[in-house]
Symmetry: C2
Amino acid sequence: MLTVSEISKSANVTADSVRHYVRIGLLKPERNPDNGYKLFKTDDVKKVRFIRQAKGLGFKLNDIKKIINHSHKGESPCPIVRKIIEQHIEENKTKLAELNALQKRMENALKKWQSMPDGEPDGHAICHLIESVNNY
Amino acid sequence: MLTVSEISKSANVTADSVRHYVRIGLLKPERNPDNGYKLFKTDDVKKVRFIRQAKGLGFKLNDIKKIINHSHKGESPCPIVRKIIEQHIEENKTKLAELNALQKRMENALKKWQSMPDGEPDGHAICHLIESVNNY
DNA sequence: TTAACACCTAGGTGCGACACACAGGTCAAG
DNA sequence: CTTGACCTGTGTGTCGCACCTAGGTGTTAA
């Protein structure tokens, strides 16, 4: 049986991550009746490693919970795993497009501002730099 | 004097956004003594538009608060505006690199899995698809 | 006058994945 | 028995709203 710090070192994650996984029900350690400390099975190390592996593929903790539940009930999680990652691929494409657009807006703004002086508040504009940029 | 819904329509944002800006102190409406309703000045419409403009350039509400405070105190916000956007440009580069890497990991995984069948839980692996992927 | 109804309000909570803070417990060395 | 390093569980903060709840408002219709 492992304590929080022991399992966190074995699985190479922070103790806070382990505690978080417990809080959201991904891990369900027993408790030391003497002091209430969490006590994990050695198998939980594998579980934590699985969680990190899945997170590395973009799965959210909530997804991972479902996957583990499926597996635990003897059902194959593979169909939902494929479905979820397809969704994430699409969502991430959208996000990337947004962030790329933002990046361009920021770089264009910075470039434009290089030829503009700092301005003192004049009662009209809050910041003439920001307000000089096109809306979109 | 404008109510929440009136200012939200004028500035083309949701009423919840307006309420949020009030909660974090970006807007400080007066109150109708009869019912406690928020009452905004017509100038607050400009302020909300400024907030959205700044948000569109990647400024966080906290940044915007500082910018407005500077301006309100008669100090030029321009120096910090330039500084903040430079930081955001760097941070966003990092984020983009991470998301691009994630995207590749996800696409590679999905491709690899196309030649793999769904597996039933066998007591060893939680999901053999996820566990078959290289860690990084 | 009153009832119905659409629309509005303030403020509480939830989201995601932890990090951080806090007050206190544990344990080996001296 | 004390010091000190290290550990514990739990509460809160992050970010920008969206959603929820319980109730108020205001216009119209009977």
